[in-house]
Symmetry: C2
Subunit: 352 residues, 2 copies
């Protein structure tokens, strides 16, 4: 099979972790006789520096022409504390999501038995956790009208949702629930927000099409509590963009293995796969970042974008082997030897 993959390394540790995912993917392709055509594009602060734009048209063309996008991370602290900066790396991310129609961010949260004691949460609270947060990614307050009034002394942002946007995301949620334990939780703030009431109403209307799925409705503040109290009580959760941003990051702490968590963004034009961690600029260029989340994102890509399940499973099993044998970066090494980012990648590729 020929796999056309757009490669967006991004900022900070992005290029380093992406390199390892490429090594592993190439090893898999060789083994299974696939041909991968990688096409690289620039994004984020790197692209602002190069062409003044965090998601240049040329990069967009590369993504549109690809069957899938493998993405590192973007963001740079020099933009964070400058509220007046007019071009920001994150704008590239948002533009990319919008232009590629990446409407659903899929964030699995599960535990690695060998790493479970790294979690800040007690073992008995998290054992058996296996949940997916489905975050709407191209609507809501991220993309609504915003601005200033009164000489800049009043600022506003608008959260807007249409029934069709909610249905598209919820449909995915119902289908995922059907393939799992048939439990779906709709997370909103319907006791305050009109947009949340439209979410709840829309999901309630869809219940009849999935009579086997048991749907619950919970407020975002309650879920922020319960996710930490009893994460294993949840299975598939669906929610709007901003709530999803907060809850997926909160959930990422559960496993104690943030450096290992992959994600997928399902799109109208293509799908994108990326680690959930950020660009971690303090570690950039040091060859110390954990590449496993990006490698596992590549596994998700083989399975979800190309239907290559066996290839995906092989990557996952080699990752598990590296964990079992302690071929890990400093964040996981504890008192044992810490391997470099590139060494972990080499080891994984060699063991494919």
């Amino acid at each position: 099979m020929k796999l056309n993959i757009a490669l967006l390394a991004g900022d900070g540790i992005g290029p380093e972790v992406i390199d390892q995912a490429v090594k592993v993917s190439n090893a898999v392709a060789k083994k299974f006789n696939h041909e991968i055509v990688w096409t690289s594009g620039i994004t984020g602060a790197a692209a602002i520096d190069a062409v003044g734009e965090p998601y240049p048209d040329a990069t967009h063309e590369i993504c549109m022409a690809a069957d899938a996008v493998l993405f590192g991370a973007i963001g740079h602290p020099r933009f964070d504390n400058d509220p007046k900066a007019t071009v920001r790396p994150e704008q590239g991310l948002l533009k990319m999501r919008q232009k590629l129609g990446l409407f659903a961010n899929v964030r699995p949260t599960f535990t690695f038995p060998s790493l479970i004691d790294n979690s800040p949460l007690k073992r008995e609270r998290i054992e058996g956790t296996d949940l997916i947060i489905l975050r709407e990614l191209t609507g809501g307050i991220y993309f609504g009208e915003r601005g200033r009034k009164d000489d800049g002394n009043t600022a506003f942002d608008t959260c807007t949702y249409t029934r069709a946007e909610i249905q598209r995301l919820a449909k995915l949620g119902f289908e995922m629930a059907m393939g799992r334990s048939k439990k779906l939780c709709c997370v909103d703030k319907a006791n305050v927000l009109e947009s949340s009431r439209l979410w709840r109403e829309t999901v309630q209307d869809m219940e009849k099409d999935y009579p086997e799925v048991e749907v619950s409705y919970e407020f975002v503040d309650a879920v922020a509590m319960r996710l930490v109290q009893w994460p294993s009580a949840y299975d598939v959760l669906i929610t709007e963009n901003l709530f999803g941003d907060i809850l997926t990051d909160e959930a990422s702490v559960i496993s104690g293995s943030m450096g290992l968590m992959p994600s997928a963004s399902i799109g109208v034009h293509t799908s994108l796969f990326e680690p959930i961690h950020g660009s971690y600029p303090q570690a950039a260029g040091k060859d110390i970042a954990n590449p496993l989340a990006t490698v596992l994102s590549a596994a998700m890509m083989f399975e979800d974008a190309f239907g290559l399940k066996e290839e995906a499973e092989l990557i996952r099993s080699v990752v598990n082997k590296s964990l079992a044998e302690g071929i890990v970066t400093e964040d996981l090494a504890g008192k044992n030897k810490a391997y470099k980012t590139s060494e972990v990648g080499d080891w994984l590729a060699a063991n494919i």
Copy 2:
């Protein structure tokens, strides 16, 4: 001293837990020769049933005439899954906040040494946690314009903040930080929202007035992670209404003692004190709810609204004694005898 206190018991377990706080407050007043004049008002579902309105004018008059308000909890599940209900108990809460000008919700999070192992988080992660989240309570998306368009198929909510609203809240935050460890964290989403950029800009401008305070700026998604990872790293956090709603509930899990956490809402016209837990309708009328959060809210009231620090300390020490001696409700009793709500209240009052 004469203390005029408005008493709003509300829904669910509200009346039961409020009763215990009244017993304890009366015992304190007797001991210290204060005279408390309690004036009760109706709110929430109870008020909807009685007069069709969750925060009736008569109740507002009672609050305006009082020096402080002691509040139970409101909310009833029969309204939650009815997106078309036009009158909701929560509207009473929002109207009350707005009409009383309760612009700052103060939520301390600390651990009780004797209960620390109830936390879902590991002891070493939470020991020494002592933080305060200051949530803006009368602005933002809670009070912005909202509605439907396109025959009800599009819904919108608006988040608006003015510089003055932010300054008012941030001023409290800086002052609190000055009285504590001089560390302030401003939580926002300035990489996406214009209102957050106004928050950041405003707080940055205020830094020069508090040169001793070390201010950090963090994104809400990062804080949702770090609060669970290393809560003891935080001291005073300031944030807008919706982020505060989510983060304060998340933080409430840290101590493992949600049933013990008090809160204060500081207002233009008066201040209000309430437990952070909800109306817990499943337990209503069973005399099993934990009254300690409400009793500790009364302690905050003595100290913050009336400057009666010794009285507040006495309440806190009696609460600690009840915990040490196991005079606790079923949520804390474990395998030991569980006391009734009213028995705990009687014991506390008798031990004042």
